[in-house]
């Protein structure tokens, strides 16, 4: 009986964690929730695999973003825009 209760409790925890997995991946959870999800992922293979698949997708997209950008060109554009913003003046009041 106690094993059944434990199983149900684990399933409930899986359901709860599953809903929070993507927010955990994006570092958008409160520290308390993040610790709870992290502890669960250490123990649950199924949730761990689910997390890993989201994580691979996120990393792949970040890699694609790097490939599609030229960091040097981007940096130069940001610096030009910073100079533009510093030198701009408020419009004259009538």
């Amino acid at each position: 009986m106690s094993k059944l209760i434990q199983k149900i409790s684990e399933m409930n925890e899986c359901q709860k964690v599953s809903k929070k997995l993507q927010s955990y991946l994006d570092s958008e959870l409160t520290p308390e929730l993040a610790v709870r999800v992290s502890k669960h992922l250490d123990l649950c293979l199924k949730c761990g695999m689910k997390y890993e698949s989201y994580s691979r997708i996120k990393k792949a997209l970040a890699t694609a973003a790097i490939a599609e950008s030229d960091s040097n060109e981007r940096q130069l554009a940001v610096e030009r825009l910073r100079r533009f913003a510093i030198n701009i003046s408020l419009p004259e009041k009538e």
Partner: protein, 194 residues
């Protein structure tokens, strides 16, 4: 600046305070802009997918923000400036470019994995290409949220402000979008079940 000093000397104390407050607001405004510039550029790039157009859009946003400066109360800067940018981009009526991988992209991706074995690098490159291609099949509203969070590194709050939508909508579009990508990969025999 010299002109502003002369004006301050001639003004009454209350006017003087008002000018000082405005000066402080301008300093705060420029400081926030300076700090936010890389994100502003990233968001503009996400909207235009072109460096030149992104730079134009940020410049236009800065000009519009300065023109509307009297409406800025010093709070919620990000939300305010992203709204200006979004409206400016809509006015430009820019046609979205197809976001397919260009010919040179795969070789650049492969360079990212130069420290790995050739086989691993090839597998990773193919996976990146498959994910990107799955992303391109998503509806635009879903795709743009994934682009902001996963490709441009914005937080949920920043994405919500940039798109002028609630954070809950950002989360649901992002999470459903990633699930669709995952299922798309599974259907192609690429992803892992879970």
């Amino acid at each position: 600046m010299e002109g502003r000093k002369k004006i301050i000397k001639m003004e009454s104390p209350s006017e003087n305070d008002s000018v000082r407050q405005e000066d402080e607001l301008v300093v705060k405004f420029k400081s926030e802009l300076n700090e936010l510039m890389p994100i502003l550029f990233r968001v503009a790039y996400s909207m235009t997918r072109n460096y030149h157009d992104a730079e134009d859009l940020v410049q236009e946003t800065i000009l519009l923000a300065f023109r509307a400066f009297d409406k800025f109360d010093g709070r919620y800067f990000k939300a305010w400036i992203f709204t200006i940018m979004k409206n400016a981009n809509m006015k430009r009526g820019r046609k979205k470019r197809p976001e397919l991988l260009r010919d040179g992209d795969l070789s650049q991706v492969a360079q990212e994995f130069s420290s790995k074995s050739t086989e691993t690098a090839a597998e990773d490159s193919l996976f990146v290409q498959a994910v990107r291609s799955a992303m391109n099949t998503l509806p635009h509203a879903m795709k743009v949220v994934i682009q902001f969070v996963d490709m441009d590194g914005l937080t949920y709050d920043e994405t919500a402000a940039a798109l002028n939508i609630p954070v809950g909508t950002v989360m649901s579009r992002l999470h459903r979008g990633r699930n669709r990508i995952k299922n798309n990969l599974i259907n192609k025999g690429i992803g892992t079940k879970g």
